[in-house]
């Protein structure tokens, strides 16, 4: 599924959208950056409550399809700027992490390849 379709379906706010045509191959949710580094895979969409700019470096290093900052948290201005510069899709949602993950799952986004 393309990220643009998920943005529309879930009414995500696009804070930086340099590549919304990117294919989303799965999802991952965590606020611990080292866990994300170890477990999230290229092409996945990452849900987090962290809104500071270090999430962008993690997304770049892992080649994630995008980051959704959930729970109505407003990412820092620097985070938006950095996401744009680094070509990372940065989205926001007022939905809590659990609800957002559930809806993504309903739309066909999986956390584990063979689930």
């Amino acid at each position: 599924m393309k990220l643009a379709d998920l943005v529309r379906e879930l009414e995500l706010e696009v804070l930086a959208g340099p590549d919304l045509e990117r294919e989303v191959t799965g999802g991952y949710a965590s606020d611990l950056l080292s866990l994300v580094m170890a477990r999230a895979k290229a092409g996945q969409l990452w849900i987090t409550l962290q809104g500071h700019q270090n999430i962008v470096a993690v997304a770049v290093l892992l080649e994630l399809a995008g980051v959704i900052v959930a729970g109505g948290i407003e990412p820092d201005q620097e985070t938006r700027k950095k996401a744009e510069e680094e070509g990372i899709n940065l989205l926001a949602s007022s939905l809590p992490v659990f609800e957002l993950a559930g809806r993504l799952y309903q739309l066909g986004v999986r956390g584990i390849d063979h689930a």
Partner: protein, 145 residues
């Protein structure tokens, strides 16, 4: 990688403790370089994880330090050397979930006690030396073949 010279490519970055604004820049540059050189995606991913965790450890815990990477077609050596508090008990520091990071740093999602375990897990060779009150030397090697 047929066109890569026999001699190693060396990149060196200086790191500043508590600089969370530039955090991750060195690792990102290293990753882009490896991709351009044509290393396999799984090798690039492992180097990116190890370099990032090593870089963050210096930024989180030390006053300052350096990140050096030595790239040859068959292996990539990542080394950080820092001036900082050092590690009192290396065995304890290697345990998942153990961290001495402050609450402020934990709130940012760092300090989960996963950094060193991640480095050991994703590297093929791993060496850690530390002197309390002076600093820490970390070396991790990833085999590319």
């Amino acid at each position: 990688m047929g066109d890569m010279a026999e001699q190693a490519i060396i990149l060196e970055f200086s790191l500043q403790g508590q600089d969370f604004i530039r955090a991750g820049e060195a690792s990102t540059e290293i990753k882009q370089r490896l991709k351009k050189l044509g290393f396999r995606p799984d090798v690039v991913r492992r180097v990116a994880i190890v370099a990032y965790e090593a870089e963050m450890n210096v930024i989180i815990h030390a006053r300052k330090g350096s990140l050096r990477i030595e790239i040859t077609p068959r292996r990539i050596l990542i080394r950080t050397l820092d001036e900082g508090p050092g590690i009192t008990d290396i065995e304890q520091a290697m345990q998942e979930g153990y961290s001495t990071a402050s609450d402020m740093i934990r709130e940012l999602g760092f300090g989960a006690g996963m950094g060193l375990p991640n480095i050991r897990r994703f590297a093929d060779e791993f060496k850690l030396q530390s002197r309390v009150g002076e600093g820490t030397l970390l070396e991790a090697t990833i085999h590319a073949d």
